[in-house]
């Protein structure tokens, strides 16, 4: 019998090792798996390369992971968000690396990683400093730059509903990077607001098919990141 549901956060992140590349879903707090990130802080794996669109807010979630010096390098498109000071301070001090990637290129690199496509050409960033040193090629008279797919050891994502097979449905714009990250990691770990019986999710509405998912944990009442940031909360509490 296939049952991907697990019952403890520590078990969810137990396999994560020092030096791992980890994709973390979410666009700001929408779709960010804050409880899994906090479990990773408790777990303590270090020298991580994190692929995520942003760098977190305040001192919770991704920002707390960065503040805890577990992240060696960020691969992201927008490390400057309201209330995002942790990354800026470490970056200015030379204590964290940044690979800045245009958002669409980041999405396509992740999608490609999961789809078995090693590299692709994109028009984004042509004639800008972000294209410097990259191979380029002309197609139909227009220049494109070569970008490489990204694979991860682990992906941490958040969804609305899941079943024991790992089929996932998301809520509104919390979908964002999560489905493509599920496919791009060797081990995808999901926190779901609810785990429903197999068959309850209409196959027509499944967004992430279970084949991409390794572990699912139910977190019924995930924290509200912006409230925690407004209240100046820090993790570990």
């Amino acid at each position: 019998m296939i049952n991907k549901q697990i019952n403890s956060l520590s078990e969810a992140v137990a396999d994560i090792f020092d030096g791992a590349t980890i994709m973390i879903g979410g666009f700001g707090e929408a779709g960010s798996p804050v409880e899994l990130i906090h479990a990773l802080i408790d777990h303590g794996a270090k020298n991580l390369t994190v692929v995520s669109n942003n760098t977190g807010s305040g001192y919770v979630g991704l920002a707390a992971l960065i503040a805890n010096k577990q992240v060696k390098k960020m691969i992201c498109s927008f490390p400057r968000t309201a209330n995002s000071t942790v990354f800026a301070e470490l970056y200015s001090a030379g204590e964290i690396e940044l690979e800045l990637v245009p958002q669409g290129t980041l999405a396509e690199r992740i999608r490609s990683g999961g789809a078995g496509i090693p590299a692709f050409y994109t028009p984004a960033s042509v004639n800008t400093p972000l294209a410097e040193g990259k191979e380029s090629r002309i197609f139909d008279g227009k220049e494109f730059v070569l970008e490489y797919g990204i694979k991860a050891d682990f992906s941490l994502v958040k969804c609305e509903n899941a079943d024991r097979y790992g089929n996932l449905v998301y809520h509104a714009t919390a979908r964002n990077f999560n489905p493509i990250m599920c496919a791009a990691a060797r081990e995808t770990i999901v926190q779901a607001k609810s785990i429903v019986n197999a068959g309850e999710i209409d196959p027509e509405t499944v967004i992430t098919p279970g084949i991409y998912v390794k572990k699912v944990i139910e977190i019924n009442h995930p924290v509200n990141e912006s409230e925690l940031v407004a209240d100046k909360k820090r993790y570990p509490w």
């Binding site: 929408a30 498109s77 669409g104 994109t122 800008t128 714009t173 990077f177």
Partner: protein, 209 residues
């Protein structure tokens, strides 16, 4: 500025809105027109800003502010969103700017300074893939320096990409043969505008005569 921009968007357009003042364009859909706003974080059919009590922290725009959906909206993941953008399916994109050159070059992601934290977001994909790029910006910087200039001094987001600029002082078209003032703001005269612009401006009437 946001209202003026919305007025220039043709009925039936699919429009992407960038972070900052462009977000406000969604509040001004002109009477009798149907515009579909796309937000790059995975929503087509973005509606107005909700009342505080109806906010959903998982329904946000590119600036991570809460928004709503219109009837007929759809959600999709990031790779699909940028396929839409890069693939040329979006008609108009409205972006903010740090600098715009007379040739339509745009700089809006980094000052290039050593201590600056660069943040590009989706801007480079948008200018590479969307059919028409509009910019909304203050005419000059906080220090009073021109943002519309001969050549951008900050790192570029894209080369020859901007078609029209909406500022607090004027609306300016970028053409092959120069910058043309399409409309002056209330109480703004041409000389006042030219003094605050780092490159030569033209009036349509002069050249058309």
């Amino acid at each position: 500025m946001a209202k003026k921009t919305a007025l220039d968007i043709p009925d039936g357009s699919y429009v992407n809105l960038g972070i900052g003042i462009p977000e406000m364009v969604a509040d001004f859909v002109p009477e009798g027109r149907e515009l579909i706003y796309q937000t790059e974080n995975g929503l087509l059919g973005m509606g107005k800003v909700p009342e505080k009590e109806n906010e959903d922290r998982e329904l946000v725009n590119a600036g991570k502010k809460c928004v709503t959906t219109i009837p007929g909206a759809s959600y999709f993941h990031h790779a699909d969103s940028f396929a839409m953008i890069r693939g040329g399916h979006i008609d108009i994109c409205v972006l903010g700017a740090m600098q715009v050159s007379k040739d339509g070059d745009l700089a809006n992601w980094s000052t290039g300074a050593k201590n600056a934290i660069p943040a590009v977001g989706g801007a480079m994909d948008l200018v590479a893939g969307v059919k028409r790029i509009f910019v909304i910006t203050q005419h000059v910087t906080k220090h009073g320096d021109p943002k519309i200039m001969e050549k951008c001094t900050f790192p570029l987001t894209g080369k020859k990409v901007v078609e029209r600029i909406y500022t607090n002082l004027a609306i300016i078209d970028i053409k092959e043969n120069g910058l043309f003032v399409r409309e002056l703001g209330p109480g703004v005269d041409f000389n006042y505008l030219q003094k605050r612009t780092g490159t030569k401006l033209n009036l349509y009437s002069e050249t058309m005569a």
